[in-house]
Amino acid sequence: MPLENINPVVYQVSDDREITADEENDDVVDLIDSREIFDLIRDINDPEHPLTLEELNVLESANIQVDDKASRVTIQFTPTIPHCSMATLIGLSIQVKLLRSLPTRFKVDVKITPGTHASEQAINKQLGDKERVAAALENRHLLAVVNRCLTPAK
């Protein structure tokens, strides 16, 4: 019987960000950059595999665009397979994590990397609908699933 993505490829995890002298100097302003956003979300667990989104290459630093001055963040994530039934949940988890972690001034768009999912448009539209997202987060069951994704494995 055909199974969905039984043995995903596991990718090398990037090293922790090195703390620079500038970062320890209180007089220097550290702009929020794509690596910082990446660090916020790389450890989110995949809902299906006991792996993080980074390990599955769902998230890559290069697919994150940040403009700190304009307060915009755009994230593209790549589902492991084009029919992944958990893509919406993954997107939602990313959104919730950023909702809790980023300054409120930011406008965050979470989308599927173009051409990597069969229902790309539908899922993007759903993730972009803040009313649906808000209602989903009031559902105890769904919130529990999202929180499970956001709880660090270790």
Partner: protein, 337 residues
């Protein structure tokens, strides 16, 4: 050109403020939000204060509000799937009825012009019409399932029993009672994404709609046998998109209101701004090819997404807005000649 002057800032809700609505007399403003509360605001001296907090009516986010035409009843709808009717007796509000029926989140509510019909719409893709009798008993008169996706907003025609709904399926639909039952008589399709809201002008012959596709559209009603030769079906009018305003908004437009006193259009946008538009008076074909221009962009009006704007029904240019930042703000628009 014009200016928006901030009159007052009300710390209304602990999180997202979703909707604001004026009572028909313009003396009270109701707001609702993610903290499950409805708050009633009134003017005291030169500021506005919270008169009452309506608690316990809903168990989840209160999404939308509407006052009955007589001003005695306030309807609130919530993600918990219910509609609450608040009865204003001697200044005190009391929850007199809870309408259940929608399968999940109710997103919009509207009273008809006479107050005898109430419409609600939901994530369950349906629009419900409720009949109100003299004893304030509510009876479901019709369940309309024309949309293929969740219905975001409902509103009644200012003079007729015609209902408008907008949806995640990118369309706007209109309904009438054909004597037998309520049914959809026309579908307005032109937007490329969710239609968040719509509003009719004071004549009820023009509609403005706003969308996730970052545009505003103006729709014109054409009656059967109209002088412009626009085709119609049966006794029902046809609506056509006569103007699209694009390039003004940077993010989804969540709400739009057409002022029945001044004819101005105001929008609430996800780019934190409020914008006011006016129709060009010197237009050659004002019916079939109207044009609109931007009078003012209040940037930013709030520190987060603006969710709703509403013109005062009695004081020209008085405007209320609310936002994800939990604030409700009052503004005065002044035009420059």
């Amino acid at each position: 050109m014009g200016t928006l002057t901030e009159l007052c800032v009300l710390e209304a809700h602990h999180n997202r403020a979703w909707h604001v609505a004026w009572n028909p007399q313009g003396s009270l403003l109701a707001s609702c939000g993610g903290d499950k509360l409805v708050k009633i605001w009134g003017e005291e001296g030169d500021t506005w204060v919270c008169k009452t907090v309506l608690e316990g009516g809903h168990q989840r986010t209160v999404r939308c509000l509407d006052w009955s035409p007589c001003g005695s009843y306030l309807a609130s709808v919530s993600f918990d799937g219910t509609t609450a009717i608040w009865d204003r007796k001697g200044g005190e509000f009391e929850c007199s009825a809870t309408l259940e029926g929608h399968e999940n989140e109710v997103k919009g509510v509207s009273w008809s012009r006479g107050g005898s019909l109430l419409a609600t719409c939901s994530r369950d893709k349906s629009v419900w019409i409720w009949e109100v009798d003299e004893d304030q008993e509510y009876e479901c008169a019709s369940v309309l399932s024309s949309h293929t996706q969740d219905v975001k907003c409902v509103l009644w025609h200012p003079h007729e029993d015609v209902l408008v709904s907008t949806s995640y399926d990118n369309t706007i639909k209109m309904y009438t009672d054909d004597g037998d039952d309520w049914s959809c008589f026309t579908t307005l399709a032109s937007h490329d994404s969710t239609v968040w809201a719509a509003d009719l002008d004071c004549t009820g012959t023009r509609l403005v709609s706003c969308s996730d596709d970052k545009t505003l559209k103006i729709w014109q009603q054409y009656m059967p046998g109209n002088e412009y030769g626009v085709k119609t079906e049966g006794n029902n009018p046809t609506w056509k998109c006569v103007c699209t305003l694009s390039g003004f908004h940077d993010r989804p437009i969540y709400h739009v209101k057409w002022c029945h006193l001044t004819g101005l259009i105001v929008t609430a946008c996800g780019d934190d701004c409020i914008r006011v538009f006016e129709e060009d008076k010197s237009c050659s074909d004002a019916v079939n090819q109207p044009s609109f221009h931007l009078l003012v962009t209040q940037s930013p009006a709030h520190s987060e997404d603006v969710n709703c704007v509403s013109w005062s029904p009695v004081r020209p240019g008085l405007l209320a807005s609310c936002s994800d930042d939990g604030l409700v703000k009052l503004w005065q628009f002044t035009g420059e000649s």
